[in-house]
């Protein structure tokens, strides 16, 4: 009998407001340690928090994009625990009355839409950054002392919790990528996993196909790339299946995935860590987002990535549409005229492959290149692509370098290639059609990449088909 993974994600998004959540220290990344602090974010006695209006608005905006209900009344709450990165001994978060309630986020997939339930999206303050020194590098265990940098302490963080509606690691990754692109386009966060401005934990369990209810779940912490999220979930799903099949039981625990070794190790026991004794933050009054504000935020939400994938899919198929949209490259795609598939392919495969910044590419010039690409020598086209983002780039000088399409000019090279490879010629005539590409490649090589590949292909086929 087969097993079905059941996955829910908890995603933290760092908002790129100018200032912190409850004080007006600058919210910046990469500054010298402890240069962006004040009595509020250092938790000196007697200070009071003042919420950041923009952070509240952006959380509402994100909630709307996730199809969430915006709460008429939201309350901040204290989450109590002791850790050096939390100077007050509690984190100001939200508990029973988050800003954004249940929602549904549509994730297009190759086989139709998948609706992922959103439990909530709430606003809280981030913890400080802790560097562990004196022990094994990078990992919490084994360190002797910690250095705390409070620049990040108290910066605004949105936590998004999904329903356990995801059924594979691949689906989880797709959901996360689409969510990231949505956040980026709303202009509320850089959402870069490597920098920690987008963080993802996964709740993972498995069950027998068709089984009702859920089994015990584990929590995989802080995987810092899309690939690691997928690999971590896959590894944990396999571990749980193996546990059950060996007659064992899965224990509820928090786990750390090591992408280097692919191993999964327990972080800490859950029972005690989870007793946070939440209560309403007495230093803050409730938030009641005014209806006009919610309406104006809703009106300002642009066409979202999920909808654009569905729209572009009609023209270029799902894979290219998803690739373009989740990388933000569809902006260029939509501005370049010409054959849709060719444009999408060149942007996704060639431009992206050459590391070209698509935001700096002139769409008209790129359109000219793509239109002419079959008549150009491949090497010339590649060179042009590599330079497409340079200031003042023009396609004109490259278009002048036509590929050799004249049969008379190409025949000698084709004859030489066929004569040099009698075995392949025989195999091709014997039905190995795939060798056509080999012959074309050899002719391209012989002509220094100047031949028109499409014409060569036709000529070779004529010669061998006779």
């Amino acid at each position: 009998m087969t097993w079905e993974p059941v996955i829910g994600l908890e995603i933290h998004v760092q908002l790129k407001t100018r200032t912190k959540m409850f004080c007006r220290c600058a919210n910046v990344w990469g500054e010298d340690p402890n240069t962006r602090t004040c009595p509020v974010c250092l938790a000196h006695p007697g200070v009071l928090p003042v919420p950041n209006r923009r952070a509240i608005e952006w959380t509402v905006k994100l909630g709307l994009a996730l199809g969430c209900e915006v709460a008429p009344r939201a309350v901040f709450a204290r989450k109590n625990y002791f850790y050096p990165d939390l100077p007050k001994g509690y984190q100001i978060s939200q508990y029973e009355q988050p800003l954004c309630g249940p929602g549904r986020f549509v994730v297009p997939g190759p086989a139709g839409d998948h609706e992922i339930g959103i439990v909530r999206a709430h606003l809280e303050e981030d913890a400080a950054k802790t560097i562990h020194v004196g022990g094994a590098a990078g990992r919490i265990h084994g360190a002797e002392t910690s250095l705390v940098d409070f620049n990040r302490g108290g910066t605004p963080l949105v936590e998004i919790v999904s329903e356990p509606d995801l059924r594979s690691a691949e689906q989880a990754k797709r959901f996360l990528q689409l969510l990231r692109q949505t956040v980026v386009e709303l202009g509320i966060s850089d959402a870069e996993m490597e920098k920690g401005s987008l963080r993802c934990d996964a709740n993972v369990s498995v069950r027998r196909a068709g089984e009702a209810g859920y089994r015990t779940k584990t929590e995989l912490k802080n995987m810092n790339s899309f690939t690691f999220v997928a690999r971590g979930i896959e590894a944990e799903v396999e571990r749980q299946i193996a546990t059950y099949e060996a007659g064992g039981e899965v224990v509820q625990e928090t786990l750390h995935f090591d992408p280097q070794t692919g191993s999964i190790t327990p972080l800490r026991s859950k029972e005690e860590a989870d007793d946070y004794r939440y209560f309403p933050e007495p230093d803050l009054v409730p938030v009641a987002p005014p209806a006009e504000l919610v309406a104006s935020l809703a009106a300002a939400i642009p066409e979202l990535p999920g909808a654009r994938i569905r729209r572009l899919e009609q023209e270029i198929g799902f894979d290219l549409a998803e690739g373009l949209v989740t990388s933000g490259r569809d902006r260029l795609y939509e501005r370049v005229e010409g054959d849709r598939r060719a444009v999408a392919n060149v942007i996704m495969n060639q431009l992206a492959g050459a590391g070209v910044d698509t935001e700096r590419v002139d769409p008209a010039e790129l359109g000219r290149l793509i239109e002419a690409r079959e008549r150009m020598p491949r090497t010339v086209f590649d060179e042009a692509i590599g330079r497409a983002a340079e200031p003042g780039f023009s396609a004109a000088p490259y278009l002048e370098q036509q590929a050799v399409s004249d049969a008379g000019e190409l025949e000698p090279a084709i004859s030489a290639v066929l004569a040099a490879h009698p075995d392949q010629v025989a195999a091709y005539r014997g039905g190995k059609d795939g060798l056509l590409g080999f012959f074309v490649g050899q002719v391209m090589k012989a002509t220094g990449g100047k031949a028109n590949a499409r014409v060569v292909s036709e000529l070779v086929r004529e010669r061998l088909g006779a």
Partner: protein, 94 residues
């Protein structure tokens, strides 16, 4: 309202408080008395009453997202018992 000995010890552990063995019973009685006092509220008919999260009848007190100067680092670290490398050095939280 009764509070058990185990609950007292559990809350004490969460709050990082060490309660001498001889005092647990006294704390148990005191916490019980506080809970009793608070539970008087439940004698009222509270159907339809919103929980009060704040005594002031105010919403939406917030500030614009405009930065103000932070503390100079020396001042920020002035109260740190063991500063190092421009940071607050603390025992490792294992």
């Amino acid at each position: 309202m009764a509070i058990t000995r185990e609950q007292v010890l559990h809350v004490a552990r969460l709050a990082r408080l060490r309660i001498p063995e001889g005092e647990v019973e006294a704390v148990q009685a005191q916490l019980g008395a506080i809970l009793d006092a608070v539970s008087k509220v439940s004698e009222l008919d509270l159907a339809g009453a919103e929980p009060t999260s704040h005594p002031l009848d105010l919403v939406n007190t917030w500030d614009e997202d405009i930065s103000r100067p932070s503390l100079p680092r020396e001042e920020a670290l002035a109260n740190a018992p063991d500063p190092a490398e421009n940071a607050f050095r603390v025992p490792s939280a294992g």
